[in-house]
Amino acid sequence: MAGPAAAWVSTVLRVLFAPGFFASSPVHLALLVGGLSALVCGVVGTFAVLRGQSYAGHALADLSVTGGSASYLASISPLWGFAGMGVLAAGVMDMIGIRRPRGRDLATGIVRGAGLGLAALFLYFDTTSSSTTGAAISILFGSMFTIGTGVVPLAAAFGLPALAVVVVLFRPLLLSSVSAELAAVRGVRVRLAGLACLLAIALAVSLAALTVGAILSTALLVGPAAIALRLTSTPGRATLTAAVVAVAATWLGVVLAYDSFTWPPSHDGWPVSFFVVALIFAGFVAAQFFGGRGRARTERS
């Protein structure tokens, strides 16, 4: 009986993982960098969702387009641009007051609009003055399979501080997310904690911008966290679940994208970012309909 079963398993594996999947070094890099950025996004994203900062995350992601296109102009790794611009924008948003719940969407949107205006300019220079014609597509929609090996230490250098912020500030952040007044009474420096969280979000989306693309990195930040908060009820467990969901969606996306090189219509592979985003959205809808007694139901606005 073992023979047919083993043959069946190996057939399934062969269908799932196209030939050469495990031997391809771009795939290794994609799995490594994609996994790392998904991990950071899942963990940081839980707080972005809990604090109602989905829009800030989205705006920071869009703004990293500006940084990415500037770094193509300067011929440096786009990650420098993504992260540099993200950190700068987080500072500006904090300065012009996105702490107030009411006016902050406006302030966020204004910063985002101005940044994207600059991005249009930089991309225009990219396409007219140099030969990097693919810059726009690769910045906007990611370039998972063309990541260079040099990016790995850089990605770790940006990702680990973001993780560290959340781990070290876990309790103060949580407290100030639930009630800023209570946190202030307990001696939490609410504004500083908020700024640290925003900076962590900026770093997380800049990593995701590298893998799924700048304008899609919101998916990795918000999606897994929203799914996790629907499925579990404690913040710690939600953070872990979000990280697992994010990494799983990214890796499955890489597998499917690798498989898709044989798919119609172009036989050129479907974009990784499409698979990652579609998987996350499907998970989110499923969690909404079949999920148990998560916190999301009571927290909906």
Partner: protein
């Protein structure tokens, strides 16, 4: 700058600015910044898909703007609104990336859709933009009072028999229509600057709704006209100036408001 081929650009941009100014007022009033940001980006996917299938871009824009807007409305009854908005947005953008990957000679069109191509407006584009614009203005005029009431005081509007859920749907549909007509001109990523910057500035300068709508239209017109003129002079994309102009409006509005009445105005505008 006023050569024959520029006339279409001026006409289209003027209509776009009026609509953005009017619709944007309600976007700001309802705190719907994120939705107004998400719908155009979803609509971008429709344009990419339509161009893939070889059908009219405006049709694709309209369908996806509506699907996006109603999808957000439907999902946000079940989940947090900002999360639902973010996820519908990225799903549509992800589909857009997929559509784009099916075609190879699309880079310049992509750029035009995302960042606007006002000089590419042809005579044939003017009529659909005008029709959609009129639909938008009529819808806002008809729904003016209930929409205003449900935006400012949802509880009391419910008491007066306004169905807030339907108002939300109507608002999303209006945003979707406004998006379809403005997207080809100023681009998916920057429509939103035009819909937010001028109205936010107008809101911080005057408390009366009608005056604010008027002021917001004037500021939007000024932004767009300046953007076209500068774009013509520098040959840079028009979106650059629209994005920065929106931010300048907002900053100017806040500065003037804080100079005039330091505390009262700020709290009134929030």
């Amino acid at each position: 700058m006023f050569l024959p081929f520029m006339i279409n650009a001026w006409v289209a941009a003027t209509m776009v600015a009026v609509i953005a100014g009017v619709v944007g007022f309600f976007v700001v009033l309802r705190g719907g910044a994120f939705v107004a940001d998400a719908v155009p980006q979803g609509a971008f996917t429709g344009a990419a898909g339509a161009s893939l299938l070889g059908i009219n871009t405006l049709f694709g824009l309209g369908v996806f703007a509506l699907v996006g807007a109603l999808g957000i409305g439907w999902l946000s009854r079940r989940a947090r609104r900002d999360v639902a908005t973010a996820l519908v947005l990225v799903l549509l953008l992800g589909l857009g990336a997929l559509f784009l990957s099916f075609t190879t000679e699309y880079a310049s069109e992509l750029f035009a859709l995302l960042f606007g191509d006002v000089l590419g407006v042809s005579r044939g584009d003017i009529l659909p933009i005008a029709v959609l614009g009129v639909v938008c203005v009529v819808a806002v005029a008809v729904l003016y009072r209930p929409l205003l009431l449900s935006s400012v005081a949802p509880e009391s509007s419910a008491a007066k028999g306004v169905r807030n859920t339907w108002m939300e749907v109507a608002f999303l549909v209006i945003v979707a229509i406004a998006t379809s007509m403005t997207l080809p001109v100023v681009g998916a990523l920057l429509i939103f600057s035009l819909m937010i910057g001028p109205p936010a500035a107008a809101r911080s300068l005057t408390a009366s709704p009608l005056a604010a709508i008027g002021l917001s239209v004037v500021l939007a017109l000024a932004t767009v006209w300046a953007a076209i003129a500068l774009s013509y002079e520098t040959d840079w994309p028009v979106g650059v100036f629209v994005g920065i102009g929106g931010a300048v409006c907002y900053a100017g509005g806040r500065v003037v408001a804080s100079l005039r009445q330091p505390s009262a105005r700020v709290s009134a505008s929030q």
